[in-house]
Symmetry: C2
Subunit: 263 residues, 2 copies
Amino acid sequence: MTGALNILYVNISINSTAHSAPADQPAPGQSRYGWLAASLRARITQGEWVPGTALPAEAALAKEHGVALGTLRQALALLVAESLLERQHGRGTFVRAGLGGASMLRFFRFRQSDERTTTPNSSILKRHVELASSDVTDASELPAGASVLQLQRLRSISGQPCLLEQLTLPLPLFDALTNSDTAAWDDLLYPMYQRVCNVSIYRAEDTLSFGLLTPEQAALLQLDAGHPCAQVQRRAFDMHGHCVELRTTLGDAFAFQYTAQIR
Amino acid sequence: MTGALNILYVNISINSTAHSAPADQPAPGQSRYGWLAASLRARITQGEWVPGTALPAEAALAKEHGVALGTLRQALALLVAESLLERQHGRGTFVRAGLGGASMLRFFRFRQSDERTTTPNSSILKRHVELASSDVTDASELPAGASVLQLQRLRSISGQPCLLEQLTLPLPLFDALTNSDTAAWDDLLYPMYQRVCNVSIYRAEDTLSFGLLTPEQAALLQLDAGHPCAQVQRRAFDMHGHCVELRTTLGDAFAFQYTAQIR
DNA sequence: CAGTGGTCTAGACCACCGC
DNA sequence: CGGTGGTCTAGACCACTGG
């Protein structure tokens, strides 16, 4: 099941120490709970507990690792902080299913008379397979020569185009999307990635900038050529910390609004 | 010393429960460490420990409140999370001095041949006192009829204008700035607020959007009228959670770049 | 060296959930 | 009701800082 992924990332996995299997004992200078967290992280990313399922109870895990309850709880707190786990009082500790919808709408305010919980409709305009450009391999850490699926996607609210997206998905991880009927695709991609390709998105990095629409882009968004646009460049990562989606989203700059907290 | 502040915020303080003095016992359903944190927060915001100084040691605080060490540590962790305290292994637990420089440059990439640690020069173009508009009172929760100090400020990097700012500061809190020589002001405002007005900024909320420069704005920034600009609307808060600065910053939209983390 | 925060233990009891 | 995570205790020892 993870075979395709291993083929893709074999080089990275060898060189990476972030998620390698931990030793039997904490390294000198490493805290016991830090080592425990790494140990549990490895078991989770290796699929011992499937996303959505519950881990054994605190007491059981603590006993299994020969550690006090408080120490185990510190380890779990780390994994919760990196959004790999989710704890629910009285129910259990669950492996997170991944981001449901990390909607691009968080960056825009499009006029909607009533609700703002609506999901824009989605239509795929283009789809083709190509070799990854150097931009793509730089941003995603894909190996040179990797092939990727390129998508162009238009999102609309009640018939009005609002967001134009260019997506890059690594193959063979997303092979299942290269031939299926795009008209039947979901409006939300991340749940579909999970269902169809067994890929969960756990974290994303959105870089915001500003530009002007090309005539082609403008026509699709029903705006004038050269109209100002906000650009969101997203890198989305899976449970292993690998980049599994690159996305560039364009929208009317005057509909853009985002609030950041500074501490 | 906090008299001016009390005059300004008397209505808010009366209505607010967020930072009121806690009872002698945790309310039913409230955790002991939550209550302890509230108690310590009150003592900090009331000035019992001045920013930059150290709190008593864990053991002393725990004994004083008749609580176990672990419980006290949970309370301190809450205050660290809201950036009111800072802990340093082997040294102590300190009241934070506030944000040093929450630089607007975080949102922009201006071309600089060498370093990017440089602070732009700052010059005050306008300064006057006026009654707060409804926009201002809405955003800052100042009482209607409050008077405020309005500033216009231009920031430049090696002689090249890059950011145009409009600041609104509540009076009488910032009285010390109404007549002092603006040419002698610091390039960084927050350390100056602290030194001159005894106001520390602990948190800020920046709302990003795009617009077009008016002819006047464009002239100051040495750009064309109608040039696209990125706009950062900031609300900055002090230790008590009161908004003590409103700021609107304009800069060339093509220099705008910001990265947000999504989990 | 003495004093600080960081880690860890082995318990106890409480609050919440679902059956 | 039994099982889960959340709170709390009263210690012990370790790691870092500064004089």
